[in-house]
């Protein structure tokens, strides 16, 4: 089977009859079955083969949609009717979706083929994929390393060539960090750009679905298909959907800001810092303006994020009560035990930690000092971000302070792992779009991603600029799939 380099080239081969969608689906199914990265938790055999047969017919009749033949995996917190979805948690053991997520419905309408569901951190809480009830997904560049998280399976699957693209969800960096660790593109669109209907909620004011792809053309097309108002999600925006694909190939010159606080951060790997500086130099040489910007609040971002995210999570996860769906403890003898034992046996340790913190910051006597303050800090950060974007069109930062780290690494203090999100949470707190671009290779052999951020609803412009930045990339995608 032909090596996948992008949907356009793939569809040419489909249209020329070089192979069929069904051949392709069978090929990918075989690849997933033989794979050892633990990226997929379930293959939708029947669904994928059936859809492939239908799309093959449509191609013959010339009526195929824009995503015809694209083989997509979805994170295990995105619903497809009639299929299991579990957020990688025991508490959703056996749960079957009654609805299809709006974004997935839009993909299928354009003849994409959904091949299965992908591993993740339990309830999207983690940066390693190690909190999954299915065990961790592994990094395709080095199986001893984490793929990142929480969309670790999504990133590993795309990087290992097990599907053409994947959907993830990003609450604090959960699409961008694994994309950076696995050497692919991952985007968190503006808050409200994509409908969250059918996404299992973690922190509703921060969650956003995002694609992970091997190239920007696919990224733009997927966004174009999925974006737009959805009556089923009142937080989805009515902001007009732009033709994102047309953003590619632009040579428009922009002003790029860099945040001194990110480059001077003690946790930042020196090689990642150098790559960021080199990229800024190359952008300057290419005719863009590069300016310094300041975010004095950088060290406050992660604490603010963890207060808001856990507060919302404690509320969202209250619905897992062992009664209406999912796991019910066989040891419960009265109603209170149904709730308490089902939750205690059903949730993993990290989820329990976050529910506990969230319950604490919302509890009487502590609400004002924690949750109330975090909401105020959120406004302050939004204001600071708006001020920064008055002086530049984009911000370029590292996506992560380091490259992928060993699976065996033990964090004696949970907050050390929370610092993994230090450069990514800004986009979730403020609702702005952000994309991780594979830019280079560390001397340790692992990929490095750089992050581009833009003002809210400048999703078109961020693709336009990401395309220009990616042309400066020294990352060699051929090192993937080996």
């Amino acid at each position: 089977m032909m090596h996948y380099t992008g949907l356009r080239r793939w569809q040419e081969s489909l249209n020329n009859g070089e192979f069929s969608c069904l051949d392709a689906v069978n090929h990918y199914i075989e690849k997933i079955e033989k794979d050892t990265h633990n990226a997929f938790v379930e293959i939708f055999y029947g669904e994928a083969r059936e859809r492939a047969t239908v799309v093959d017919q449509k191609i013959r009749f010339g009526t195929a949609g824009r995503l015809a033949g694209m083989i997509i995996g979805i994170k295990d917190n995105i619903c497809l009717k009639g299929h299991r979805v579990s957020a990688a948690s025991k508490i959703l053991d056996g749960f079957e979706s009654l609805f299809t997520a709006t974004v997935v419905e839009r993909l299928i309408k354009e003849d994409a083929i959904i091949i299965g569901r992908l591993n993740m951190d339990e309830f999207a809480m983690g940066s390693t994929n190690k909190t999954s009830v299915y065990g961790p997904a592994l990094n395709p560049h080095n199986k001893a390393m984490v793929p990142g998280g929480s969309s670790g399976g999504s990133a590993a699957a795309v990087a290992a060539g097990l599907c053409h693209a994947a959907l993830g969800s990003d609450t604090g960096g959960s699409v961008r960090q694994p994309a950076a660790f696995c050497g692919i593109y991952g985007m968190k669109p503006s808050y409200g750009r994509l409908s969250r209907y059918g996404l299992i909620a973690f922190a509703s004011s921060l969650d956003q679905i995002g694609p992970l792809t091997t190239n920007l053309e696919d990224m733009a097309l997927l966004l174009e298909v999925m974006a737009g108002k959805d009556p089923m999600d009142s937080t989805s925006s009515s902001h007009a959907v732009e033709p994102f694909s047309e953003a590619l190939g632009s040579e428009r010159k922009y002003t790029i800001g860099y945040l001194t606080e990110t480059l001077e951060h003690p946790a930042l790997d020196p090689e990642i810092k150098q790559l960021t500086l080199d990229t800024l130099d190359h952008l300057r040489q290419a005719g863009h303006t590069v300016v310094e910007a300041h975010l004095p609040h950088l060290d406050y971002l992660t604490p603010v994020y963890y207060i808001i995210a856990t507060a919302e999570a404690s509320s969202n996860l209250a619905r897992y009560d062992g009664v209406h769906f999912g796991y019910r403890s066989p040891n419960a003898t009265n109603m209170d035990e149904v709730y308490t034992l089902s939750r205690t046996e059903g949730f993993g340790p990290e989820v329990k930690r976050r529910i506990t913190l969230g319950t604490f910051v919302l509890s009487s006597g502590f609400y004002d000092a924690y949750y109330g303050k975090a909401q105020k800090a959120r406004r302050l950060i939004v204001q600071t971000t708006n001020n920064i974007f008055e002086k530049c069109d984009f911000l370029l930062t590292p996506t992560t302070p380091g490259t992928a780290f060993p699976l065996s690494k033990v964090f004696d203090d949970p907050t050390k792992l929370y610092l993994e999100d230090i450069f990514t949470v800004m986009a979730n707190i403020t609702g702005i779009p952000a994309i991780s671009i594979p830019m280079g290779q560390h001397s340790n052999g692992l990929p490095i991603g750089l992050q581009l951020m833009a003002p809210v609803f400048k999703d078109f412009q961020i693709i336009e600029m990401a395309d220009q930045v990616s042309k400066l990339s020294t990352y060699n995608p051929d090192l993937v799939n080996k």
Binding site: G94, F95, E96, L98, Y191, G192, S205, P231, S234, T235, S237, S238, Y300, P303, V304, I307, A318, D321, G322, V323, H324, F325, G326, R328, T333, N334, M335, E337, V338, T340, L341, R343, T344, F347, K352, R353, I355, T356, L357, T359, F360, S363, A369, Y370, G372, K373, A374, Q375, K376, A377, R378, R379, L380, V382, D413, P414, T415, Y418, G431, V456
Partner: protein, 95 residues
């Protein structure tokens, strides 16, 4: 911030989670570390700042107040662990 075991048990009860003695000790230690970490926000000058509650810019998203048929009884019961043909079953609430 120092937390007592009673503080943790009270929060766990609110969250409907139970903790063994060993887990209680670990949760107390983790919570203290996490609270120390998030404590940093107390340094920010926030007295004159209004809290930001909604991140989306659209206001007053309205829809017709009309009932629609979304889930059948069969489907609604499908995912319940214990049920009969009409109802979800739970342990006796009133003696």
């Amino acid at each position: 911030m120092e937390l007592t075991k009673e503080d943790i048990l009270k929060i766990a009860n609110l969250a409907k989670l139970s903790l063994s003695d060993e887990q209680l000790e670990a949760m107390k230690s983790d919570m203290e570390k996490i609270l120390k970490f998030v404590e940093k926000i107390q340094e920010l000058p926030l007295d004159d700042v209004e809290p930001l509650e909604y991140i989306n810019q659209d206001v007053n998203v309205l829809r017709p107040d009309a009932a629609t048929y979304t889930v059948s009884q069969y489907d609604a019961l499908k995912n319940a662990a214990v049920k009969d043909s009409d109802y979800i079953k739970v342990p006796k609430v009133l003696g």
